[in-house]
């Protein structure tokens, strides 16, 4: 597996003039890159009038409202914001955990037993990755409702089903690269498939586990249309909530929305800085596996 370690080669190189210019240029670009997020952050401290007058101006004494927007944002839209966080968090953690456990087992079995049925499942999984959501959105939400999967618990199953394609594909790819002799040895020792899988295969698969976890986390956390169509209206994830707030009978409290956008970005940024190495490896692995 290709690992991205920017440190490996560069860094020690002598910086020529051209490289120095590039550093300066990229610094400028970087500033522009983070500017949108910074502007939202800045506007979350301004009054609505202040935002519509000039979104790029720093808050002045007149337009500054401090944390007022964060306080009003907490219950904006008659829905407590913390609930959307809990909901998003639960669905993401639960969905990813379920996908990891179930699909890794499935992928291993499919690869190792290699029957016709397993092959069909495998190709169907791959096929499911290209299908656009609009193609199945109506029938999927209808199915989910018929089976009462419209709760945060039920939607985990939908995510397992709809997210299975990528995960099975990536795990299968990795299982193929594991020398089968290890498992055969375990088999000879009398370990059943359960022990072989959890004791031997699972630990070897750790890098792929992380990759799949990262990719699925990024997908589920940010997903809008699937939970919007499937979840019962009493539950809202963060994207659903933000979209909901944007049209509430003309009483749009822009500054509160800014505050909530900031609050919903914070967990992602923390997650990013905590697991940056894994995230980048995960992305690369996700691509290279293909």
């Amino acid at each position: 597996m290709a690992k991205v370690k920017a440190k490996e080669r560069p860094q020690k190189k002598k910086q020529t003039l051209g490289m120095k210019i590039l550093t300066v240029l990229f610094t400028v670009i970087s500033v522009f890159y983070v500017a949108p997020v910074f502007i939202v952050f800045m506007n979350s401290f301004k009054t609505n009038a202040g935002i519509s007058a000039g979104p790029f101006e720093f808050p002045t004494a007149e337009t500054f409202v401090g944390f007022q927007s964060y306080i009003s944002g907490m219950f904006y839209g008659n829905y407590p914001f913390w609930k959307t966080i809990v909901c998003s968090f639960f669905i993401t953690v639960g969905g990813v955990a379920l996908i990891l456990v179930c699909t890794s087992m499935c992928a291993w079995y499919i690869q190792r037993s290699n029957t016709i049925v397993c092959k069909i499942i495998y190709y169907f999984c791959i096929f499911s990755m290209v299908v656009p959501f609009q193609m199945v959105m109506f029938t999927l939400s209808k199915t989910a409702d018929t089976l009462s999967l419209n709760t945060p618990w039920g939607i985990l199953i939908i995510y397992l089903g709809f997210g299975a394609g990528l995960a099975v594909f990536m795990f299968s790819g990795f299982v193929k690269s594991i020398p089968i002799e290890i498992e055969e040895a375990a088999d000879v020792d009398g370990a059943g498939p359960m022990r072989t899988f959890f004791g031997i295969v699972l630990p070897i698969m750790k890098p792929t586990f992380i990759s799949v976890a990262i990719l699925e986390t990024m997908w589920i956390w940010n997903d809008y249309l699937l939970p919007y169509l499937i979840l019962d209206k009493t539950y809202r994830t963060i994207p659903i909530h933000i979209q909901y707030l944007n049209g509430s009978y003309g009483h749009t409290d822009t500054t509160a929305i800014m505050a909530l956008i900031v609050l919903s970005i914070v967990p992602i940024v923390i997650f990013y800085f905590a697991c940056q190495k894994y995230i980048i490896e995960g992305v690369v692995a996700g691509a290279v596996k293909g």
């Binding site: 609505n48 009038a49 519509s52 839209g77 008659n78 609930k83 809990v86 909901c87 968090f89 639960f90 953690v93 639960g94 955990a97 456990v101 939400s141 209808k142 409702d145 018929t146 009462s148 419209n150 709760t151 945060p152 618990w153 959890f198 004791g199 699972l202 630990p203 750790k206 169509l229 209206k233 009493t234 539950y235 979209q243 909901y244 944007n246 049209g247 509430s248 009978y249 003309g250 009483h251 749009t252 409290d253």
Partner: protein, 453 residues
């Protein structure tokens, strides 16, 4: 190695379970109810509410009802502009709404198959006038539960200040009784806005998608109303657009004598207009009785403090018909319907709940005070809303209220089309012809599409 992984998996599962636990907790709190009553045989009520701004009040009222009777009432609210979508999706579900609403004849055409006949129900007999029932033949499928009025709200203090100025040709508020006069006043205010200390005569006609209903629906009602009146009809599959020039005149007035440039309107919302009006930056503001709470600060979300004697409402004059006799626009676009396919218990529970809302002390108080509704039922509270009082006064003085015909608009698509055309016209990137096309041709196409099945 192996052990380590097992503990890791365990930790992960545990974390998941903990999150689940807290989630289950919150899920319960929003859907609990009936269990305290003990009588499992009682039906449940699921009300899919249309008005987002009254969501909290409905939740409160539902909780009170549950407390009193033990019957579980769930209230859910669709986001602005998505009621039809949400209702469609919810009706498909196993736990479908037992109580929902349609906006009038057009909405009813879509949902008739799902509506229980209410002609023998208590709630129908409680109506002050049978006209508020939504009928189809002998059956009553919907019961209007809120009567609303809109017009051009004005700031009395500012308008008086204008009348007292030297540049004013109209010297008294009472003289404003036609489009001509209204235009004169607005133009003069606009020309002297510094002297009056305002930014414009009219508040910004915010055309942002969540707010353009003030123009694509409410303002558009007037040309439709006058056309229907001429033709002696109450709905049509193809509108002629006889009075669209008048529609253009009033809309032009809104966007030229305004607090901002036409090109800024696309991004302006109803809140912007509300703020401008409530802070005295504009004199006129087209809106309705439901604004009363926000403008006066009686709504807990509001930070404004206008007083009753600062507020007045003019009819929306567009220069058609006998303007001296024209009243405010009063009508109903909210009809309660009971889901025919719900279980008998649920239906009974729903009807009881509706009846309780409009007859009990708690219910009528909540509807009148918390939600600011004027309800057409016998037990209704006396309105405190100054706009409602004004409407009653005008009607008593012999003015004819303009009825709400926008409920016959063919579809949401049609409204959105007109709204988009208006926005582009206001910004100068579109032509008025497009508004006319969207209005007239679009009506025909959309009507055909909506009634195809």
């Amino acid at each position: 190695m192996k052990r380590k992984n097992v503990t890791r998996v365990a930790a992960l599962t545990l974390a998941g379970l903990m999150a689940a636990g807290s989630l289950a907790g919150c899920g319960e709190s929003s859907s609990q109810g009936g269990s305290t009553g003990g009588d499992a045989k009682k039906g449940k009520v699921y009300y899919l509410n249309f008005k987002p701004e009254q969501d909290a009040a409905w939740q409160d009222l539902a909780a009170k009802y549950t407390e009193e009777t033990g019957v579980q009432v769930t209230v859910k609210t669709a986001a602005e502009g998505t009621y039809e979508q949400t209702l469609t999706a919810e009706m498909d579900k196993s736990e479908a709404p037992t109580l929902f609403q349609v906006n009038g004849p057009v909405g009813l055409a879509n949902w008739k198959d799902y509506c229980e006949d209410l002609s023998k129900s208590d709630i129908y007999s409680q109506l002050t006038s049978q006209d508020y029932g939504l009928k189809d033949g002998d059956a009553v499928y919907g019961v209007g539960y809120v009567i609303e009025t809109y017009g051009i709200i004005y700031n009395k203090t500012l308008l008086q200040k204008y009348c007292d100025s030297d540049f004013a040709t109209v010297k008294s508020i009472d003289e404003i009784n036609s489009f001509e006069k209204l235009k004169t006043v607005a133009d003069e205010i606009q020309a002297n806005k510094e002297a009056l200390g305002v930014d414009g005569a009219f508040t910004s006609a915010g055309m942002e998608a969540s707010s353009d209903w003030r123009f694509k629906t409410h303002l558009a009602n007037l040309p439709i109303y006058f056309e229907y009146k001429d033709e002696g009809i109450s709905s049509t599959d193809a509108i002629k657009g006889t009075y669209l020039d008048n529609y253009k005149n009033i809309f032009d007035l809104y966007i030229t004598d305004s607090t901002c440039k036409g090109s800024d309107l696309a991004n302006k919302t109803g809140s912007d207009a509300e703020t401008e009006f409530a802070t005295g930056k504009a004199v006129f503001y087209q809106n309705g009785t439901w604004e009363y709470g926000m403008l006066t600060g009686k709504d807990p979300k509001s930070t404004f403090e206008m007083t009753d004697d600062q507020l007045g409402m003019l009819p929306v004059y567009i220069g058609v018909g006998d303007e001296a006799k024209q009243g405010l626009c009063t009508g109903c676009e909210n009809y309660w319907c009971v889901n025919k396919d719900a279980s008998e218990d649920d239906k009974a529970a729903t009807l009881d709940f509706m009846n309780w809302c409009v007859t009990s002390e708690v219910g009528t108080t909540a509807l009148a005070d918390d939600m600011g509704f004027v309800i057409p039922f016998k037990a209704a509270k006396e309105a405190t809303n100054v706009f409602v009082k004004l409407d009653n006064e005008l009607t008593a003085n012999g003015k004819t209220p303009v009825s709400w015909n926008f409920t016959t608009m063919p579809s949401e698509n049609w409204k959105n089309g007109v709204g988009t055309a208006l926005t582009q016209y206001a910004a100068g990137t579109g032509e008025w012809d497009d508004v006319v096309k969207a209005f007239v041709d679009g009506w025909k196409t959309e009507y055909a599409a909506a009634n195809a099945g």
